[in-house]
């Protein structure tokens, strides 16, 4: 059995984030809380953000889901910490484009997150990867209301 195609999906950096998630937990100081689930598969995420003066000061997540959704959540929280909310939302849109196999703006420095590009080739798994990003976008939108 060839593992090459699986390796495109489960890159080592993804497995690392899955097994050793960053920013796992609940922020005591959060002022934005979002719960989101993927109704087709049961994945759930509980995202807490501390947003001050349009800057994401801190972010943590709790959740239950597959390696893709949890690794994506770990990487997403890493990326948005310290970013202003507008940039965070722009990143969420760029991430969606990446999942659709579209080219993304070179100015977007995704770092490790680019390891998730392989997900685009597994249509059934795209929603796993985008769940944390959708939660983040929703949270920031609710904060600015």
């Amino acid at each position: 059995m060839g593992n090459e195609k699986l390796d495109q999906l489960y890159r080592s950096v993804i497995m690392d984030h899955y097994k050793t998630p960053r920013n796992k937990g609940v922020l005591e100081s959060s002022n934005v809380t979002i719960d989101m689930n993927n109704p087709t598969c049961g994945d759930v995420i509980h995202l807490t953000l501390q947003v001050e003066d349009d800057i994401v000061k801190d972010a943590k997540f709790e959740g239950e889901g597959c390696s893709i959704s949890m690794a994506s959540a770990s990487m997403m929280t890493q990326l948005i910490k310290g970013k202003n909310t507008e940039d965070a939302v722009t990143a969420a849109h760029a991430f969606s484009d990446m999942m659709l196999g579209k080219d993304i703006d070179d100015s977007m420095d995704f770092g490790d997150i680019e390891a998730l590009t392989g997900v685009a080739k597994f249509p059934a798994r795209i929603k796993c990867a985008t769940l944390p990003w959708k939660a983040m976008e929703k949270g920031i939108a609710s904060d600015s209301e």
Binding site: M1, G2, N3, K5, L6, L9, Y10, M15, T40, C41, G42, D43, V44, E64, G65, C66, S67, I68, F122, A124, R125, C128
Partner: protein
């Protein structure tokens, strides 16, 4: 065990998926279709297609004969006493909604109780939730035994003088549990409640006899028993159906239409508004003919052997937990499980890369997932075309996933 030649009837099985011969273990979601069913549908469209119950012309007669002939096939399949008791629907979900909206709205009032179980599919939960909300009735759940079976004692204990409807699946789409429907029907009737049976997972595998079960309503879907999607049937006792109002109004279901009032056709057509699912009914009848030609008893035995073999082999995979009855003779062809350290989605992806199709997720049973205290599970479901080699391929894939995610 059934002979492997049966696989030749299913053209779809003869293909490679991701470089491996396809192993289809998702029949509880939908079964594959034999050539006989595909040809019956093609033949209808190529030779007989016309609208039913109205044409004077020859094609109209042929289409009507095909459609009403399908109803007779379903009647015999369920051993109902009359075709008046067989209503074609889009599937089990539509049938259960019809019961809740028509029978339920007319007969349920504040304080009445509707009794279901924790193992129900969403389609046998939400129609009752909606009915309870609309009428002020109370929806109650019967608890399960630790191995995912139902005890008659708990069913009896849950019954009260207010219980008006008991609705339950015959076979669990997650646990594979086969519920003692006949005995539960007796208990329901002793309390003057009606008994509704969701037979979506039972009809493909067990011989059904609505007169012997004495249930009041029973619903199933064509696509799970080798038939096409978009067609199913509702059985209802004539006395109950007669009293019920249609929930869809329009063509086909009317007797006389005036400017401000109309009257309905007799049973079963008053429940079949609009041009019916003609090709679907003909395809479902071909599917019933097909599985009956093999024999439901034979199919059931084949699945029992496969499940026993699968459970035995799967147990050899370290960290694998199987949900539901441990005794394989107590379950239909369904094995739901989790592999320690591998999320079911990841597991399903690894298996798919090896050509093995399984379902991962909550299987439309969120309350049951909560009862099991898991967020998701993987499920392998077997049907007449599966073989022991399919089980071996599954187990091989499970070992590979375990290794990959270590």
């Amino acid at each position: 065990m059934l002979n492997n030649d049966i696989r030749k009837d299913f053209p779809i099985l003869d293909q490679e998926v991701n470089g491996h011969p396809l192993v289809y273990l998702d029949s509880a979601a939908t079964s594959q279709k034999p050539r006989q069913v595909i040809e019956a549908i093609a033949n209808y469209y190529q030779n007989d297609n016309a609208n039913v119950h109205r044409g004077v012309h020859t094609l109209g007669n042929r289409a009507t004969e095909g459609y009403e002939g399908a109803r007779e096939t379903v009647r015999k399949f369920l051993n109902a006493s009359s075709t008046e008791e067989i209503v074609f629907t889009r599937g089990t979900t539509t049938a259960l909604n019809l019961i809740a909206q028509s029978y339920g709205r007319a007969n349920i009032s504040e304080g009445d109780e509707i009794l279901i179980t924790y193992m129900e599919h969403h389609s046998n939960i939400i129609p009752w939730q909606q009915l309870a909300k609309a009428t002020g009735a109370v929806l109650k759940y019967i608890d399960l035994e630790e191995d995912g079976t139902l005890s008659l004692e708990k069913v009896s204990d849950a019954m009260t003088d207010q219980t008006k409807i008991v609705s339950m699946m015959y076979v669990s789409n997650v646990l594979g549990t086969m519920n003692p429907i006949k005995q539960i029907t007796e208990i329901a009737h002793a309390h003057s409640a009606i008994m509704v049976v969701d037979a979506a997972q039972a009809a493909p595998h067990l011989k059904l006899d609505v007169q012997d079960l004495d249930c009041d309503f029973l619903a199933f879907s064509g696509h799970k028993l080798c038939g096409p999607t978009g067609i199913g049937a509702l059985y209802g006792k004539k006395a109950l159906l007669n009293e019920m109002e249609p929930i869809e109004f329009g063509g086909e279901m009317i007797d006389f239409v005036g400017l401000y009032d109309s009257s309905w056709k007799e049973l079963p057509w008053k429940f079949e508004g609009g041009t019916p699912i003609i090709a679907g009914a003909i395809g479902m009848a071909a599917a019933i003919d097909y599985i009956e030609s093999i024999g439901l008893g034979t199919i059931e035995k084949h699945e029992h052997e496969l499940v026993a073999y699968a459970m035995e082999q799967m147990k050899t995979v370290e960290g694998l937990e199987i949900y539901g009855p441990r005794d394989s003779s107590k379950r239909a062809g369904i094995v739901t499980f989790n592999l320690e350290g591998v999320h079911p989605h990841d597991l399903a992806t690894v298996l798919d890369m090896n050509g093995v199709a399984v379902r991962a997720g909550h299987h439309c049973c969120q309350p049951l997932m909560k009862w099991l205290d898991v967020s998701a599970t993987a499920r392998a479901s077997f049907y007449l075309y599966n073989t022991k080699e399919d089980v071996d391929r599954l187990v091989e894939g499970l070992r590979m996933a375990k290794e990959y995610f270590q």
